[in-house]
């Protein structure tokens, strides 16, 4: 069972994970990661909103390619990968990845793999609204390091 989506509206992860688990009968384990928009401390300017933009012809096809690679690399029964676009408020879920497998290691590693690639290589551009206006988020060295973990 494979469910790859971009969502423009606020979602409740449990409403996706429940049906996803049901759709993979006989699984041995499910691993789920949910990312939320951080409330940054006031002294750092406090995030009021996060906006994610994407490029239709690349972003969703890129997520499907990532799912293909996860299925090639791990022994999976199912993969759910949902990412928000648009304007989000702190505390709102931004990404949900869930993997179902016969054995836990495949499920856990597949989620880790998908998250590292979604964060650093997927076609999303983010900007944060702080008290003094909007700021684009630049790529970080950590992201490249996270990707390098999977290159062996």
């Amino acid at each position: 069972m494979r469910d790859i989506r971009l969502l423009t509206q606020m979602f409740i992860p449990g409403t996706l994970i429940g049906p996803f688990t049901q759709a993979n009968p006989g699984l041995g384990g499910v691993c789920t990661f949910v990312g939320e928009v951080r409330h940054d401390a006031k002294e750092h300017g406090g995030v009021e909103a996060l906006e994610l933009s994407h490029y239709e012809p690349l972003t969703l096809p890129g997520m499907h390619e990532l799912a293909d690679r996860a299925f090639d690399r791990f022994t999976l029964m199912g993969l759910l990968m949902v990412h928000r676009i648009g304007v989000l408020r702190p505390g709102e879920p931004i990404v949900c990845v869930s993997a179902a497998a016969l054995h836990r290691r495949d499920a856990i590693d597949a989620v880790d793999f998908c998250m590292d690639h979604l964060k650093s290589a997927a076609w999303f551009w983010k900007r944060e609204k702080r008290a003094d206006g909007w700021h684009w988020i630049e790529p970080r060295a950590d992201d490249t390091r996270d990707l390098a973990r999977w290159q062996s």
Partner: protein
């Protein structure tokens, strides 16, 4: 006409998220038609270019005709 889609920071630099330019366009023609600051940013190897949804391995190979869409893609944001 050719549609130019500007993503992320490049949309700020270009002053709009889409522009239309007269066809045909090659890489030098595209840069000449954009503000100098934008043209300079496009030469940065971290900024990628897609033609009709397909990434170009070499930007200099760009050949766009009427009704094509060129996307200008800055590096994606991290976490």
């Amino acid at each position: 006409m050719i549609t130019i889609v500007l993503l992320g920071k490049l949309a700020d630099l270009g002053g709009a998220s889409t522009l239309t330019l007269a066809a045909p366009l090659d890489w030098e023609g595209l840069k000449a038609a954009l503000p100098p600051a934008m043209a300079e940013a496009l030469d940065d190897p971290r900024n990628r270019v897609a033609l009709n949804g397909a990434l170009l391995a070499d930007k200099a190979e760009l050949r766009a005709n009427a009704s094509d869409e060129i996307a200008l893609l800055p590096p994606v944001s991290g976490g």
